[in-house]
């Protein structure tokens, strides 16, 4: 080929094209898109720290305040079994706040696609000779990774809240938090794939993230609710992530399973096993990711 002097060294393009199939380039692209997100996250220490403020406010101010109010009103927000086990409201919402942190970080993280679009970087990715599915998958995993770290980092507060963590519960939490993070991050990517500017972000925030948070059972048990709300809570994918977190964290801390069942998520009066809840979340995430992939593959 025509490289007159020795300045440029590289593989000729025609050799490059047929060297491998399509799977390996796609995996490599997924990796680098994921890696970029993680690198940016890691570099942005202030975001890492400021994102701890909201959970702390919930746990310390909101939790303490409501604990006092509830004990004044006679206590027992989660039934006699929980009360007998000495469960405070702050302890009750602790796993929920971990879930909240995952929920917000996952969707925010995934929505960074809209930033990338607005600031031009997305174009660099979209014109590359890669399958567009890599964009959706890489971004989803990137958002999920950030969200997982944001959630798990809160575990350091456990001693402060008086929740005992065991090795078993921490090990079980990692995949559960990841599944929740993945499901919500994929949802964020699916939404972001159709958004052309950050203007729609407020709408997503108010009409999706906040309702998902309030209906997820992060702040109150999902049992004994009015029928309309019972239906809505069961339609909230985040609810299937909060419940396993609560079971694992509080179960590990010694709350009896009878008390856990009372405050746990039931569907048609059946207590769902953790594995089923995780499977529901995973399925939701995969569907969302499929939508995102389809949206990214559309060419003008």
């Amino acid at each position: 080929m025509s490289t007159p002097n020795g300045v440029m060294v590289g593989t000729p393009a025609d050799e490059r094209g047929r060297r491998r199939g399509t799977l390996w380039p796609t995996l490599r692209a997924i990796y680098i898109i994921w890696y970029r997100d993680v690198l940016r996250y890691w570099r942005d220490r202030t975001r890492l720290l400021t994102s701890l403020v909201q959970p702390l406010l919930f746990l310390i101010v909101f939790g303490t305040g409501l604990s006092s109010a509830l004990s004044g009103a006679g206590g027992g927000f989660a039934g006699p079994a929980a009360a007998a086990a000495g469960l405070t409201y702050t302890q009750f919402i602790f796993p929920g706040i971990i879930g909240m942190s995952v929920l917000f970080s996952a969707i925010f993280g995934a929505m960074s696609i809209v930033w990338d679009r607005e600031f031009g970087f997305l174009k660099e990715v979209l014109v590359a000779p890669i399958d567009r599915s890599a964009v959706a998958i890489g971004k989803s995993l990137g958002g999920a990774t950030q969200a997982m770290v944001q959630g798990l980092i809160l575990l350091i507060l456990a001693p402060l809240i008086g929740v005992k963590l065991t090795l078993g519960s921490v090990v079980a939490l990692v995949p559960l938090v990841f599944v929740l993070a993945f499901a919500l991050s994929s949802m964020g990517v699916a939404i972001a794939s159709r958004m052309r500017s950050m203007q729609g972000f407020q709408v997503v925030m108010n009409f999706l993230m906040m309702p998902m948070f309030f209906l997820s059972g992060a702040l109150f048990p999902l049992s004994g609710l009015p029928a309309w709300m019972t239906v809505l809570t069961r339609l909230d994918p985040a609810a299937y992530g909060m419940d396993p977190l609560r079971r694992v964290v509080l179960g590990g801390a010694g709350l009896p399973s009878s008390a856990l069942d009372r405050i746990g998520l039931t569907v048609f009066d059946t207590v769902l096993p953790i594995v089923v809840e995780a499977a529901i979340l995973l399925a939701f995430g995969v569907v969302m990711l499929a939508i995102a992939v389809r949206n990214f593959r559309i060419r003008d």
Binding site: M1, V7, G10, P12, R40, D44, G120, V127, P129
Partner: protein, 330 residues
Amino acid sequence: MAEQAVISVHNLVKSFGPVEAVRGIDLDVQQGEIFGFLGPNGAGKSTTINILCTLLRATSGAASVAGIDVDHDPAAVRSRIGLVFQDPSLDHQLTARENLEFHAFIYDVPASVRKQRIAEVLEMVDLTDRADSVVMTYSGGMRRRLEIARGMLHTPDVLFLDEPTIGLDPQTRRHIWGYLAELPKKAGVTIFMTTHYMDEAEYCGRIAIIDHGQIQAVGTPDELKKMVGGDVVSITTSDNLAALPEIEAIAGAKPIADNGTLRVEVPDGAAFVPRLVRETSVEVTSVAFRRPSLDDVFLKLTGRAIREEEGSSTDMMRMMGRAWMGRGRR
């Protein structure tokens, strides 16, 4: 081998609804050329370049880049071209090296040469010493250079640049051109670029002037200038109105009055000036002649001047976006 068309376009048409942005374009670009696509905003430049880069699909007609049909195998085309967009597309929170690493990954630059290629392209645009600074700290010109380096990283056959110097100050523009002009010689790449800066078109080996979605003329800058005829003489006199018929008689062409100046084309400016001074009855207060510029060519072909300074509303928004981005992203 040398006379091989790297870009070949045949009767290309692109409509957006009822609007025909590109109306039947034919062109061939040879390997190693710097080919300029020149025209005012909205002439169809960006649309054409986007079709060649596989970002848009043509309504009809055919185009191939590096021997590959753009509609048939867009992914193959993309792996053989480098792109520098009108709008910046760097990650400002990453360093130059990290931006290039990202690019190397998604363009499948083999791991064995990745480091070396990155070092080479950084050297090419003189950014080696700033390679590990975050792009946020870069000036506009440095960012552009980095984008050019990135476009060259995967040894493309063709480097497409859409208004590569838009929004940069004249000194930086010249600087960028210093790098671009060297690329075909150094790397054997073909450059296809759009611009609406006439002075930049002078750097190109060949130029196509496009207006209203059609090519008005193609040729080297000199060939195009010859279309204008001879030299362009600008004259001011104490009484332009009286001077006009006299000048017309001497020059054999009708002068155009433009902002207090009379402009006329003559075959030989140097011989014309003494005659002008000798033979006009009114006082000539100033006279200047110059070789025709591409501006004159454009004026002649389209009947209007290319508007350089007047930014469109999208340019304005783009500028505002940049200003905001600077603040919004630490």
